[in-house]
Symmetry: C2
Subunit: 338 residues, 2 copies
DNA sequence: TTTATCCTCCAAAACGTTTTGGAACTGATT
DNA sequence: AATCAGTTCCAAAACGTTTTGGAGGATAAA
């Protein structure tokens, strides 16, 4: 590997001059600069980012810390799409991306700070972390700039990006109400997720607007899992046969719900309308295809990266961003003829 | 940030001793070692990997270079699952993972070597690259250790991991033959993919074994895309109404094929049996659900990482690995009553 | 007592950059 | 002739580690 010294020697100048020539400083003659550039190319020289980072104390590297990067994530692709967004934005802005994945086992060995400092990242994007995760406290105490995905907390060095979950959920439920459904249940995620609380709030707001009393037994938790949702839906529908529509806090859970309903012998969507949340790939392929609230996960990642780099470069701008959802009508929700 | 010097000063020893104490060398008194460890912890010291890498000329970092990391990849999840495998294995072995994504635009700016050297990766795993990609030549010329996914090329510094595509394809087609299908067409990917050639070979081998002549017009290319596959399937089925079964070189293309057949008014699987390849999530959810040849993409990534680290650590072992496929029977393939 | 051996420790060099604070020249202005 | 202002260059320090090649002292062996 050619170093800056090799270039300097061959060009007959000092390393200082090579450095300044290549970095576009004005105090070097254009002729020497050209010569140096030529020689650099000739020697196939490219500066060691290691050495540079060491002296500049800047790595131009951000980390995407995901808790539980598992193959199961394939089903909703949340992580992957966020990753794509982060990657694209980081690329555009000249940042490197390192992937940091943890699980509870790893978390006991290394603190958040260690993880970040070791990997020499300047800032971090956090995805897939629960509100009761011990890392969350560390993030808030640490001075490493950080953007949280789907956890609305803000501080000097912390910002967040999320979706307008309440609005989205409200839209979904209003859609069902407008179709004439009176008994609308909800399959929620779990209470350690901000998004679940928000979506529940949206569900309640929609009912309230129509003066329909909130029935607590109409809301069950499916843990954002297909199987759990299937079980819970089965129980729910058995206990409350009057239910004619379901709002699921995730499409994946809606898949579980569909399966449960089918197993009970219901014809969908005639006997049960379902609206999901996320707009995952599957939702377009299931039978019936799923009406859903689309959220832009790619943009979630992209905006998170934008916010983070702003933070890193000391720009005084908003430290949070809330994205809007889009309603997508498919086959799974139709008028109620109950 | 505390440096090694701070620790040394506070402990009243030299930096050498701190370094050697913390790195487990034997030439330091256990009492001093304990003291140093205490102080290091107290100061929340963790060594700068930058400085270390600079002097050791080792970064313990591998790169996953993916060509075209796009959101469209969500549909088959190939990249994501490989990524999970790479990530898990790298984590186990103590390597860091940086994500390098390119596209044709970026490739014109930076050569493969530049990309790798700049990012200071010791080795690379290449995924999603076509056989006519200019990077491939560079890889072979470069001395950076590299493992190719699904491109069986080997050299001193290059290995590969792939799936036994021929076997898989042959199994698929034999399954259809055993169901009594006589006119089996194939929707292949494109000629710039090794896997396509292999799968075609498997298709031909299966026919050959049953003494069925190979009919060139029965094989069309769907470019691994759902839409293209849909168009090509429609054309194919119109031109050859006798076709009763389809082997698709990817599940995604099978989805396109299913759509094409449905649009033509065919009842599936009664009028057309289909077998795919990959076992993507969708294949279990489509109607009809798709019989397919499953390949383990997670393992592809995991094994690639294992091979790469072996290469990096100079172990004299096999530089390639071929994984086996599994056949999964679902609804889309049934007996031929033509 | 001398010599050899072991145990602890350390000063200095090295890794490949960037930045600081001038130096040396040229040409123009007084 | 002396001063000033550019322009172009450079030596040396700094970043935070690891490694090399001993030094010094204590103990054991001669």
């Amino acid at each position: 590997m050619a170093t800056i010294r090799d270039v300097a020697k061959k060009a007959g100048v000092s390393v200082t001059t090579v450095s300044r020539a290549l970095n576009g400083y004005s105090d070097v003659n254009e002729k020497t600069r050209e010569k140096i550039k030529m020689i650099a190319q000739e020697l196939n020289y490219s500066p060691s980012l290691l050495a540079r980072s060491l002296v500049m104390k800047k790595t131009k590297t951000i980390g995407l810390l995901v808790s539980g990067l598992r193959i199961e994530g394939s089903k909703d692709n949340f992580t992957f799409e966020v990753l794509c967004g982060v990657n694209d934005c980081a690329g555009e802005l000249g940042y490197e991306l390192v992937l940091i994945s943890t699980d509870s086992k790893k978390q006991q060995e290394k603190t958040y700070n260690q993880l970040c400092k070791e990997r020499k990242v300047e800032g971090v994007i956090l995805q897939g972390i629960k509100t009761d995760d011990p890392y969350l406290d560390e993030v808030l105490k640490s001075d490493i700039p950080c953007i949280l995905i789907d956890i609305p907390i803000e501080s000097d060095s912390v910002g967040y990006v999320t979706t307008n979950n309440k609005d989205g959920a409200q839209t979904a439920v209003e859609h069902l109400l407008n179709l004439g459904h009176k008994h609308i249940a909800m399959i929620n995620g779990h209470s350690q997720a901000f998004v679940s609380r928000e979506r529940l709030a949206g569900y309640q707001a929609a009912l309230m607007k129509k003066n329909i009393p909130f029935n607590e037994s109409y809301v069950v938790n499916g843990a954002f899992l297909e199987d759990t949702a299937e079980r819970e839906t089965a129980k729910l529908l058995k206990a409350h046969p009057e239910i004619s529509a379901l709002f699921c806090a995730s499409d994946l859970m809606a898949m579980g719900a569909i399966r449960a309903a089918k197993k009970m012998g219901k014809t969908l969507p005639k006997e049960l309308s379902i609206v999901g949340f996320d707009n995952i790939i599957l939702s377009a392929y299931s039978t019936p295809s799923l009406s859903t609230i689309a959220q832009d996960r790619y943009k979630l990642g992209f905006e998170a990266t934008k916010l983070l780099t702003n933070l890193l470069e000391g720009k005084e701008v908003e430290k949070n961003k809330v994205l809007q959802t889009t309603f997508i009508k498919r086959e799974s929700s139709i008028e109620n003829h109950g």
